[in-house]
């Protein structure tokens, strides 16, 4: 369909020339996550304590705040792509699928914004006093 008839093209059922974008973006963010989330896991293991002062003092350092913000963008981009595939595989009703993907975008972008703002606030305030 799509290539042959006019209505097929109007409905966008043919090649949109962007079929590989989702796939390749998932791989790019996956490689980013290998570095960034591994960094977070090792850092959490090496932190001497996980109380308010230790965590804020740690997050306030530029070389922690910047990778953390990169990680937030990368993680929420990657999880948005991954959850979208899951929704597309299991939610078959078109309307419900549309609504679920909107909800997913709200979740991913909303959580990313809250997380980025939190790190920025800690970093610019200079950590716990």
């Amino acid at each position: 369909m799509g290539n042959g008839t006019g209505i097929g093209r109007v409905r966008g059922l043919g090649s949109s020339r962007s079929g590989t974008h989702h796939w390749i973006a998932q791989r790019f963010t996956a490689i980013g996550n290998v570095l960034l989330v591994t960094w977070l896991v090792i850092s959490l293991a090496m932190l001497p304590a996980h109380d308010y002062a230790a965590v804020n003092g740690w997050l306030a350092q530029p070389l922690v705040a910047v990778p953390m913000m990169l990680m937030i963008v990368n993680v929420f981009y990657h999880l948005r792509l991954g959850l979208q595939v899951c929704i597309e595989d299991y939610v078959h009703d078109e309307g419900l699928k549309f609504a679920t993907i909107i909800l997913l975008n709200f979740f991913a972008i909303g959580c990313a914004a809250v997380s980025l703002f939190s790190v920025a606030k800690i970093a610019f305030a200079g950590g716990a006093l």
Binding site: R27, A30, I31, N33, V34, V37, T38, V41, A45, P48, H50, D51, Y52, V55, N56, L59, I72, V75, F76, L79, G82, L83, C86, F107, A108, C111, V114, S115, F117, S118, V119, K121, I122, A128
Partner: protein, 144 residues
């Protein structure tokens, strides 16, 4: 017919046998989606609590790790959160390793039956061992 009667005549959806690669594929999705929802919410809650001041962070720590002995609900939440935390670290190692396997397979390597089976089993074992090692380090190693 010379063939044995038990052999399938052609591939069919209902004729298959469990292999480690199937378990790995399912675990990749389960750990990925689990981290996406619980890890995404947990990361956001942690950072938001840290940015909102000592009281907010103390509340986060109270429910995730250490509620008072008399607080029944708090202790139940503690147990759930601790299971989720350990689960998230296991999910991270499992998803990391099977994700790296996916990247190798994207290059067209690792499809030979024996190699594929061996790597699938190795990944499940290594993810479990690194999770145990991680928590041994958190609970025992750092204290000493």
């Amino acid at each position: 017919m010379a063939q044995s009667g038990q052999r399938p005549l052609s591939p069919h959806l209902s004729i298959w046998r469990w292999g480690p690669h199937m378990l790995l594929s399912i675990l990749h999705r389960v750990t990925g989606d689990g981290m996406a929802i619980l890890g995404g919410l947990g990361l956001t809650w942690w950072l938001y609590a840290a940015a909102s001041g000592p009281a907010s962070y103390a509340n986060f720590q109270y429910y995730v790790w250490e509620a008072e002995a008399g607080d029944g609900l708090g202790l139940v939440v503690n147990i759930l959160c601790r299971i989720i935390l350990v689960g998230l670290t296991w999910a991270f190692f499992q998803h990391l390793l099977s994700g790296l396997r996916h990247l190798v397979m994207d290059m067209g390597a690792g499809y030979e039956l024996q190699a594929n089976k061996r790597w699938s089993k190795t990944i499940i074992a290594v993810a479990a061992l690194t999770t145990i090692a991680f928590w041994c380090w958190i609970i025992l190693g750092r204290a000493g």
